[in-house]
Symmetry: C2
Subunit: 332 residues, 2 copies
């Protein structure tokens, strides 16, 4: 039995080894992924992101339990900047996840946020695709900390939950812009805090106060789309207290509601298409960069950097000239 077959048969250790191959981007992993690819497309991939201090880990734990209570198995992918070299070897090494590890219906994968040849975005997507292929119906992808990861999660997930703590002040305006780009559901966690109610009101005013009502969020139809897609998804603002286990059932209801919305509105297919296109474009870039590395070489690159450092030429010009000496596109 191959590793892929063993993973498909439900062997946890085989799956863990397969994920390491996939995550590392080695040839063996890429082959496995190519084999598994026709089996993907069934899971609901849910991204959980937010600022440091929002309490994402505790919330994720509560979410996982609530999904389990509803009878589904699930996988958790935790992108973890605190263990850059772990390579996912330690399952459930994060404090809040320890009590999930003993549950046979939950598969936890810790991923390092660094050390992936193609970047963590690719690795996360490949890991999620593998978990999808082996049959997990729900995949929670948590990104810890701020930065690139918050943006990348939108490339992986069908539903993005943005978790923030109360007390954002003027930055609510900034959050609005971020929301429009990535979030489908907004959660104000730590609702036990005094300023929680005020934060929710301010968010509601910012997000839903201005006309045209009902046309907010990432699901709003683009110009030129058939009218059936118009209507959109109004980003709901929920309050939770992960610590007190409050608001969790409502959050899972809303996540399931978003999935239903995606299916009935036709957005699901559009997300898949957007993901597929992003993937193809990303792989085109990745292959090109490999070609570049192969054919430019360190010496020439260093030479070009030297020209820039001496302020003789700007980086754009240096790069263009470097490319021109190397190859020209063939005839179409």
């Amino acid at each position: 039995m191959t590793l892929v077959e063993a993973a498909l048969a439900g062997e946890r250790r085989a799956l863990a080894r397969l994920l390491s191959l996939v995550e590392n981007g080695a040839a063996e992993g890429r082959e496995a992924l190519a084999t598994l690819f026709p089996r993907t497309g069934h899971a609901h991939i849910i991204g959980i992101t937010g600022s440091p201090g929002a309490g994402k880990s505790t919330l994720l734990n509560r979410l996982a339990r609530e999904f389990r209570n509803r009878g589904t198995t699930l996988a958790i992918v935790a992108v973890d900047p605190t263990s850059p070299y772990s390579g996912g070897a330690l399952l459930g090494d994060r404090l809040r996840m320890r009590d999930l590890v003993t549950d046979e219906g939950i598969f936890i994968r810790s991923m390092a946020s660094r050390g992936h040849p193609g970047g963590v975005a690719y690795a996360t997507r490949d890991v999620a695709l593998t978990l999808d292929a082996v049959g997990f119906p729900i995949i929670l992808v948590e990104t810890v900390g701020a930065g690139q990861a918050q943006v990348d999660v939108a490339r992986v997930a069908h539903t993005v939950v943005l978790v923030e703590a109360p007390g954002m002040g003027d930055d609510i305006q900034a959050l609005k812009a971020g929301l429009m780009e990535i979030a489908d559901i907004l959660v104000v966690n730590k609702s036990d805090r005094a300023e929680a109610r005020q934060t929710v009101s301010a968010l509601q005013a910012v997000l839903h106060g201005a006309p045209p009502a009902g046309h907010h969020g990432p699901a709003v139809a683009e110009a030129g789309e058939p009218e059936a897609f118009v209507g959109g998804w109004e980003v709901p603002i929920l309050q939770t207290s992960a610590l007190e286990n409050e608001g969790i059932a409502e959050l899972v209801d809303t996540i399931e509601g978003h999935r239903d919305y995606l299916h009935t509105s036709g957005q699901w297919g559009r997300i898949l298409k957007r993901h597929a296109r992003a993937e193809v474009e990303a792989w085109l870039q990745r292959h090109l960069l490999l070609l570049l590395e192969e054919h430019v070489g360190e010496a020439r690159l260093e030479e070009a950097v030297g020209v820039v450092l001496r302020h003789e030429q700007d980086p754009a010009t240096v790069a263009r000239e470097l490319l021109q000496t190397l190859w020209l596109p063939g005839e179409k």
Copy 2:
């Protein structure tokens, strides 16, 4: 007199128009930048980043005033996700910056976080380089909101100040990892809050508690570097209350101290080299992508996406085959 000459002569409106050309990445802007490039390399570029709610805007305002009190002129580049289409037309449109606008010694540039052909990172860097070239000794680059911008600022700045509010709880561990990647100075703002002292202590324990002491932060020498570079920069943790104007002078002292450290340790040159290399690599990618767009074309790309959507082939394989049909690298 050309636009570049007028901007170099100190004409504010010419500079604003020049920045629009540069920001938009049009041919005219790229030419201007190529002309100005030999004049760059003198400014101290300071990135200000952090989570929503940390109070960055108010802090930036205070910082700008303190720098002005010390007799220097300065430029502020505010990457603003709330005005995606402003194109920088409204200077000082953000509430907290209004009282800076009347100061002749401060030049404020609001930049949209979207709508840049090459991404906001390129646009920010090009705007900062232009401000450097026309002679601003201090350039503050503020990124609002979380996401990509926080990562990008490290590609632009010599000194990165990470601003957080008290009360991060377990996410301090996550913050540590982020810190190691980007921050030179850590600020716990809103020090009037009850939990501020505790947050600072926890951060100190996480950042400086573990041996080997004195080897933290991004300035630690890489393997194989001459020993003169060993020693590094221990990321300082400062408390400020931007609202109460407390801790601001100390923060500016620390920023200036970091600049002095960069110069005396030789790190300054290494940062310039790292930036130059990142720029050349980024432009290589950008030129390649333009070639790709030109030669692949929408029809072929859509065809490839369709193959992926039907689960016939995985994105990596589709992309590789697409490239192979198009061109092959020429002889070296």
